[in-house]
């Protein structure tokens, strides 16, 4: 499971984990009944406090995205409702904001950025 943390945008680490797990499930990179890494394993992989990972898993479980099997581990439930429009917008907005900031730094105008986006989306 590939979780990438960004510490500059002020989003708490546990929320970043939650958002990325939701994103991985929604994009089918994590499938129903797939096992997630153990808390301690993920904590060591992404170098965060195990309590932070535990909190993210707990909240995802409460929200129905994950389920626990006693003595086994944590799994993708497949029952969670797909991302709401507002949540999808929020995720994509975050990415767009980053893109806009980089484009500004490189002096790329909005129009050229949109054109570039169109060109790339047409390429298969």
């Amino acid at each position: 499971m590939d979780i990438h943390l960004n510490q500059n945008d002020g989003v708490p680490v546990y929320l970043q984990i939650i958002n990325q797990v939701k994103h991985l499930v929604s994009s089918k990179r994590l499938v129903t009944d797939q096992e997630l890494p153990a808390i301690r394993v993920l904590a060591e992989q992404i170098l965060v406090n195990p309590n932070t990972v535990a909190r993210a898993y707990r909240e995802l479980e409460i929200a129905g995205w994950l389920y626990k099997k006693r003595g086994a581990g944590t799994f993708v439930s497949g029952k969670a409702s797909p991302l709401s429009d507002s949540e999808r917008n929020r995720i994509i907005d975050e990415k767009i904001k980053g893109l806009l900031a980089e484009a500004r730094q490189m002096d790329i105008s909005i129009t050229s950025l949109i054109n570039r986006l169109k060109e790339l989306s047409l390429k298969k």
Binding site: G10, V13, R40, E44, V48, N49
Partner: protein
């Protein structure tokens, strides 16, 4: 009676070196299972504080109790439960890695030889090399083996990552996470690498010139600090803004061309309402990272 969950209890600790105040009235508790991060500029008092925990300094004023004991009076009982690593571990240059590990193991009844050998493998240490032949990063890794192999109740790290490459820093963070994953083990570490502290600590102390600038859970620290940028208008000036919003938790305010950048610690909604009630326009709002908080609070303390 001492609460068994409190590993470290410091009460009103003060220390001076000549005229210089190194620590001023420090009080804090660290509980079992916490990862307690200590941050501050060079000379803020981090190492002086840690030396008190190791029994290397006697408390001039106040008291230090580690595992309920005074580290100066009962050094062997306290040190047996601590795994310690400093920025420049003082290792005997003439020994080989293997000799040093064997020598150190003799001091600890709980030494786990298998774990020591696992760690030397993970760190790819050549055990027949002399310490004098090792790079700074390899020495730090040897220090990590010595600090961890007796499975201490407390891992105490003083600026362990200073000047080390990302791979060794990763090993150090991993050691912190491994330690705290073991039930009941505690970590206290000082660092100026704030991103690392933010990732692994659940409690934080920020020191400035020997005084506590912040002491709280990491979650409270991060969720309570905000930056609001407001537009300059005819009625606003820096001094007046500082006075007006001080009671709402404003701790730093700077002018940036035609905008004011206000850093607050407090409830976000209350702060925003107090600003809009004053007919000021908020241009942007964001939460602060630990790095932002540290820089802004240090600036404010120095009156920059």
């Amino acid at each position: 009676m001492q609460n068994v969950n409190i590993i470290l209890q410091i009460k009103n600790l003060s220390r001076t070196f000549g005229e210089q105040i190194a620590l001023n009235n420090i009080s804090l508790d660290v509980k079992k299972g916490q990862v307690f991060g200590i941050v501050g500029e060079n000379g803020a008092g981090k190492t002086t504080l840690i030396k008190h925990l190791l029994g290397q300094y006697i408390a001039q004023q106040g008291s230090v109790r580690l595992f309920g004991l005074d580290p100066v009076e009962s050094p062997e009982k306290v040190l047996a439960k601590i795994g310690y690593l400093s920025e420049e571990p003082e290792l005997p240059a003439w020994m080989t890695v293997k000799e040093l590990i064997n020598y150190t193991s003799a001091f600890y009844p709980n030494w786990d030889h298998q774990y020591a050998s696992e760690l030397t493998d993970i760190f790819a240490l050549q055990i027949n090399k002399r310490i004098s032949e090792l790079s700074k990063g390899q020495k730090a890794r040897v220090g990590l083996v010595l600090a961890q192999a007796h499975r201490p109740e407390l891992l105490l790290l003083d600026e362990p990552s200073s000047g080390l490459d990302p791979n060794v820093r990763r090993d150090i963070l991993s050691a912190i996470i491994k330690t705290v994953s073991d039930e009941g083990k505690t970590v206290i570490f000082s660092s100026h690498l704030l991103e690392e502290v933010e990732r692994v600590s659940d409690h934080l102390m920020m020191l400035d010139s020997g005084e506590i600038m912040l002491l709280d859970s990491m979650e409270n620290v991060l969720s309570s600090h905000h930056r609001l940028v407001i537009k300059e208008n005819d009625n606003s000036d820096l001094k007046q803004l500082k006075e007006q919003f001080l009671s709402f938790g404003l701790f730093n305010c700077v002018k940036n061309s035609n905008e004011f950048v206000l850093d607050f610690s407090g409830d976000q909604k209350t702060i925003e309402k107090s600003i809009t009630d004053s007919s000021l326009e908020i241009v942007s709002h964001r939460k602060l990272s630990l790095n932002d908080i540290f820089v802004s609070r240090s600036q404010a303390n120095k009156g920059v």
